[in-house]
Symmetry: C2
Subunit: 158 residues, 2 copies
DNA sequence: AGGAATCTCTACTGATACTGTCAAGAATAA
DNA sequence: TTATTCTTGACAGTATCAGTAGAGATTCCT
């Protein structure tokens, strides 16, 4: 019942980007250093976040990643969803989307008193995560007095 | 972020016991047959539930398991907690209980904006699970028209 | 044009936890 | 005394997680 590190790292990394946001894209090596996340692993996570449309990237020198939307429009739910794949406490709920393609994953489908419980729990958790945005985290960071790191690339211009 | 089968099976089994409750203890073989759970595996789960004080047992012929409390006093949270061990979305919260013994599991402990989010999410989920009792599930079962199986052991007395 | 920086894609791997199975033993009722 | 049922601990296959690795593509700078 634990969130994977992809979710935890993903949220931390996205917060880090929003918190230290500058004019240039943020780079893996900086984020991974500040958040103490393996850079190669973070690459993978960022690919997931990019596929989900939360990040855009630019290659080459001075390249990196940037948020596709303002921090107040990106919620924890979106990040967790992108990293985790889905936000369901159990698998036996799946298999009855609109198209009704897949077979029910559980033999007791629709004859099970626990199914609605897991459904509702998943929904409640998702709603909470959807109520928190990256901007909220940034404000929290301010209150906690976290230091904003100067972008070292600006040094060139001084 | 999935619940383990121990939790799912555990809740189903506990519901089954409450729903088919008779005067005699419920036996593994009956529950596992009705709920289609491996009997050997269910034994293990029941040991966990017994350690948590949710079940009591009696060996020998006509033995089995019974709930230690009325169905309306047993919540989903207790069962999940017993099966899952804990109800925390992340590990980085642990390590600062009242005794303050264990070291913080996370290097960013108390310097992390995401920690409160995972904490709150865990709490919200736990609160929801605590709001649902076995009795609620039984009523749901009634509404769904689930059939109550006659205890075959009563046959002897007819 | 060339070289360096940075992201991209895919594959691989070691450890861990999950999901059971199994066997021998202890208690209890008939 | 015997059949039944729970008790305890060990064991094993599989999947997932978490991270590493290498070769390639794109972009910028000179």
């Amino acid at each position: 019942m634990k969130l994977s590190t992809k979710s935890r790292y993903g949220v931390r990394a996205m917060f880090d980007m929003a918190f230290h946001a500058g004019t240039l894209p943020a780079q893996i090596k900086d984020i991974s250093r500040r958040q103490n996340i393996s850079p190669r692993y973070l690459e993978q996570i960022f690919q997931d976040l990019k596929k989900a449309g939360l990040l855009k990237s630019r290659r080459g020198p001075q390249g990196g990643y940037s948020l596709t939307r303002p921090a107040e429009e990106i919620t924890i739910k979106e990040i967790v969803l992108a990293a985790e794949g889905e936000l369901l406490l159990v698998d036996c709920i799946k298999g009855r989307r609109k198209d009704g393609e897949a077979a029910p994953a559980c033999e007791f489908d629709n004859q099970c008193v626990t199914q609605p419980i897991w459904n509702e729990g998943s929904r409640i958790l998702g709603d909470y995560f959807a109520s928190v945005s990256l901007k909220d985290l940034c404000e929290q960071g301010q209150e906690m007095g976290l230091e904003k790191e100067l972008d070292h690339r600006f040094m060139y211009f001084i």
